[in-house]
Amino acid sequence: MNAYWLRRLLYAIPILIGVNLLTFWLFFMVNSPEDMARMHLGNKRVTAMAIAQWEVTHGYDKPLFYNAGRKGLTAWTDTLFYTRSIRMFALDFGQSDDGRDIGREIRARAGPSLMIALPSFLIGLWTNIALALMMVWFRAGWPDRLGVALAAMLMSVSSLFYIMAGQFLVARLWRLAPVSGFVPGIDGWRFVLLPVLIAVLSGIGNGSRWYRSIFLEEAGKDYVRTARAKGLSESRILFRHVLRNGLIPVVTSTVAVLPLLFMGSLLTESFFGIPGLGSYVVDAIAAQDFSVVRAMVFIGTVLYLIGLWLTDLAYGWVDPRVRLS
């Protein structure tokens, strides 16, 4: 059993290497450091001097793979590939274009991201499951049909609309919550309220619809009919049988998302001015800061792979029938 988990974990390594090579190829070979310098300095009338100067200050003035000017091992380590790509595996991301340490920035920003993302995720999950159960309870009746129609409409609304309308109505018109901002710790609950509410609301359409189809499929199975034939009450069937078994696919699929919660949400964070990783990415994109984007690609990949691994774990844990060899 343990050997299996270990093998699954090792399976992540070639993928990580692949992602690393891909981003290196994209950022340093498709788009050379010279192009990068041109973009930052403005395209027109840039002297070769200025470009060279920019490359030196940002540490791009090295050969790609092999530094012929150095001896021994440093010929390989004093290259862009080593400093920019290999070092990432040691979680050393270097500096962003404005001179800050990316690793420290990421550590500082993961907390605020989590403070929004975790409550949104938990409350959203609970709400969606509750709504889905309600629709299944009234299946083929009017509450079900109304629920399905509403879910289809909710999922057709742009997430930008939820955020902009929510911010406008709740914060500006009714003044129930601050428009934006963030305070770390318990005192920050006022700032967390609205983003979480909006995140939950915007996820209802897709989530409840999906869980409804899972529970409905479960409710059509033979063991449910047997339970009903034995004379079990409808509520007992729904909560003890349908819910419990229906949760298996729900749990295994949501576990994959858990690590990615650290990444936060791009839109919510940038609209509400939350200093998390989501707004970090948005700012980096706006400033065309390639090192930050590369670092976030790496982190995101690692988190995704952890999620994949957790999914495997969860399969064995939730469903005892799953035997792994």
């Binding site: 993928i15 992602v19 981003t23 994209l26 788009n31 409409m153 057709s156 995704y304």
Partner: protein, 445 residues
């Protein structure tokens, strides 16, 4: 009037080819497509949402016939622009609310007696009407009557036409007639009311530079529709080619393809898109000389964006097709074909691919709606289509500041979101129907 000088943009060519290809597939009598379509036209929801989608598609196609208005003029105009000319004719100084008579902001004017006064000036569109103008309510009623008349007349003429031709009637798929008729009437009435109102007012108001918002939001249809359509199209070669190859050949080919899509899948999609778009922006800036006109540049950017999204989002369909091919490969008829010595390519083309088309079709329709939503988000992040191109994302982006104004300017945002909502909702409903019609066994959950 000089001759017309047509311009074929890349996206124009692609969308017309796509529609032609689909029409060709539909025209073949033995295709499974026809059966599925016949099942679709029986379902009221599918008919209603499908008609809305066809209306959007129609606008997209009309807006994809471009030409230079005059020889030597580098500007590019579409046929749809010609139809919308009345909307463009009058532009105001700045913001004006929907159906307003006066400008939204005050202006200093000099009164005849020499005093300065702040007033809300009359809109140009109102001032140009010679003999006063009616109330909006009257125009709406007139429009409703006109629309009903239009719907009735067109329905009657279609009915008479079919009465005459029995053969045409027989070739028609079964149709949810009542829904079609209701939707057609609603469409006609909406169209007529809009035309009536647009003659004397700005139906959705005007934006910061005084442009008609209705015009902008209608022009945005092409961008967003093409974005959804061409992106799903861009995923197909990779998803189908690699998915079928992985499932059919197995072995090391399967291993490599699985590795590639797991790796691509591991990168958070939005970051990969961001990386690629940043690179593209760099490319366009460095090679600015290659794009001799603004329209060409914007078109290239739209096309490239679709390609990027296609390359980053083919993995889901690929995995699905691989699994299905694995199943199909073991079926008797494929085994038989193989034992007869039919080549691998021919087996994949003749025996495997036709049995995957329903999955591909469902996936295309299902992805379309989410892609339209993605366009807006990408524009917000500064990764979307060219800012000079009208798109709902760009409108929403601009409207962000308008929401912070006091009093608030809400109409550009509302217009963009409403048109987007209608498209996405009907695409979602249509996707559900397509899934039911083409995949009765539910092999895709």
């Amino acid at each position: 009037m000089m001759g017309i000088h047509p311009v074929i943009l890349w996206t124009d060519a692609l969308v017309w080819l796509l529609v032609a290809g689909f029409a060709f597939a539909l025209a073949r009598r033995d295709s499974g497509l026809r059966k599925g379509v016949a099942r679709l036209t029986r379902a009221p929801v599918a008919v209603a949402s499908g008609m809305v989608l066809v209306a959007y598609l129609g606008v997209t196609l009309l807006d994809s016939l471009h030409f230079h208005p005059a020889a030597g003029d580098s500007g590019v105009v579409s046929v749809f622009d010609l139809l919308l000319r009345p909307l463009q004719r009058v532009s105001e100084k700045t913001y004006s609310a929907p159906l307003a008579d006066r400008l939204f902001v005050q202006e200093q004017v000099l009164r005849p007696d020499g005093h300065q006064q702040r007033v809300y000036p009359l809109l140009a569109i109102v001032a140009q009407q010679a003999h006063g103008h009616a109330q909006p309510a009257a125009a709406v009623w007139y429009g409703v009557l006109q629309g009903l008349g239009l719907a009735g007349a067109s329905a009657a003429s279609v009915l008479i036409w079919f009465r005459r031709r029995r053969a045409a009637r027989a070739a028609l798929p079964p149709l949810a007639w009542r829904t079609a008729l209701v939707m057609w009437t609603v469409g006609c009435v909406l169209f007529a009311v809009t035309v009536q109102l647009a003659a004397s007012w700005h139906v959705f108001g005007t934006d910061k530079v005084g442009q008609d918002v209705l015009y902008q939001s209608l022009k945005s249809i092409r961008t967003d529709f093409l974005f959804g359509l061409l992106t799903t199209l861009a995923t197909l070669p990779l998803a189908v080619g690699l998915g079928v190859a992985a499932g059919y050949f197995g072995g090391w080919i399967d291993d490599i393809i699985q590795y590639v899509y797991t790796t691509l899948n591991a990168i958070p999609g939005i970051l990969l898109i961001a990386a690629a778009v940043l690179l593209m922006q760099g490319y366009i800036e460095v090679h600015a000389a290659h794009f001799d006109s603004l329209a060409l540049r914007a078109d290239f950017r739209l096309l490239f964006l679709c390609a990027i999204l296609g390359v980053t989002s083919w993995t889901g369909l690929c995995r699905l097709l691989r699994a299905e091919t694995l199943k199909l490969r073991e079926l008797e008829y494929v085994q038989a074909a193989r034992s007869f010595g039919v080549s691998d390519w021919r087996i994949m083309w003749r025996h495997i691919l036709p049995n995957l088309t329903h999955l591909v079709l469902i996936s295309v329709v299902m992805d379309f709606s989410s892609l339209v939503l993605v366009e807006a988000v990408l524009s917000y992040l500064g990764l979307g289509v060219d800012p000079s191109v009208p798109s709902w994302g760009n409108m929403i982006n601009a409207a962000q500041l308008e929401l912070a104004r006091e009093p608030v300017v809400w109409w550009p945002l509302t217009a963009a979101f409403s048109l987007m909502f209608v498209l996405v909702l009907s695409a979602n409903l249509f996707a559900d129907s397509v899934r039911e019609a083409f995949d009765p066994l539910g092999s895709r959950s």
